[in-house]
Symmetry: C2
Subunit: 148 residues, 2 copies
DNA sequence: TATAATTGAATTGTGCACAACTTAATTGCC
DNA sequence: GGCAATTAAGTTGTGCACAATTCAATTATA
């Protein structure tokens, strides 16, 4: 099995740089929406599932409260989201879209289109690549479960 | 082309989480070497190319001096690397391994082996995945060049 | 029903990533 | 040779990622 200590032969390095470079591509596209890449991911979840709590949001994005709390605070300063404490369980904090936050969705509709165009990739390849990434994550989780 | 605003259908999200989760896998493996993941990448380059300068190191890793300068400072505090100013061009700073930095290589030899084991992946798949990631980066660069 | 254990969110501290800027050395051009 | 443009490295400031801790609310259990 691949064990050479060369940078370019390590899948971790390829993943790491590919992720960084793709994120870099998003920056100019998201700038007009006043969103960073991570904030955009949070907004994606909220457009899908308005009223989600911090815990479930963190599960979706694989982020803990240490990352999400300040990030959501910034989205509140932008007047895109609001926090409401859940009545049934006072520990939970529910996030909901403000009118501006909802309205932003329309502007965001063509973000994926722009990105696809930049990647210049056909649908079949796109799906194949996606499945491969999902498979990598599945293997990582399998290992995690074997360890329990 | 894929344009639904759903989190899981976006290749950027899959890349982002796959990269984070793989990095997470490295953490416990690198902890005994007192290295973070990014520091490990720098060491990989140095084991390959001792005496490289900051600029070329940054090109290899796609990192700028704002990231590398403090990172290398920490590697110096760990006594793994040293800085020497180049004599031919006083702007350049060359990085070289200390004896402990060189010695660390042996301990690092089985890092890729451990990771492969955790991923539980056969060589053909590993290579296919790697090529996919390289292809994504190539497409991103193609776009960058079209823009110039 | 007390109280121990667990859970959700926030805070603190460390390190990475990057934009914008500064400084000093080198190169290009007249 | 003199001066502008470029280049390498570092600094400052912002935001993300995560470990560790705190605090309050809830749940489990003796």
């Amino acid at each position: 099995m691949k064990s050479s200590l060369t940078l370019e032969h390590q899948i971790c390095f390829q993943l790491y740089t590919a992720s960084k470079e793709l994120t870099r591509l998003y920056r100019p596209i998201l700038a007009p929406l006043n969103l960073t890449y991570s904030q955009y991911l949070v907004m994606l979840v909220l457009w899908e599932e308005d009223g989600i709590d911090m815990k479930q949001l963190g599960d979706r994005l694989t982020l803990d409260s240490g990352t999400l709390s300040p990030l959501v605070k910034r989205l509140m300063q932008l007047d895109y989201v609001e926090k409401v404490r859940a009545t049934d369980d006072e520990r939970r904090v529910l996030l909901s879209l403000t009118p501006s936050g909802s309205a932003l969705r329309e502007q965001a509709e063509d973000v994926p289109v722009k990105v696809s165009g930049m990647l210049n990739i056909d649908e079949a390849t796109y799906i194949a690549y996606m499945e491969m990434l999902i498979d990598i994550k599945a293997r990582l989780r399998d290992f995690g479960e074997r360890q329990e």
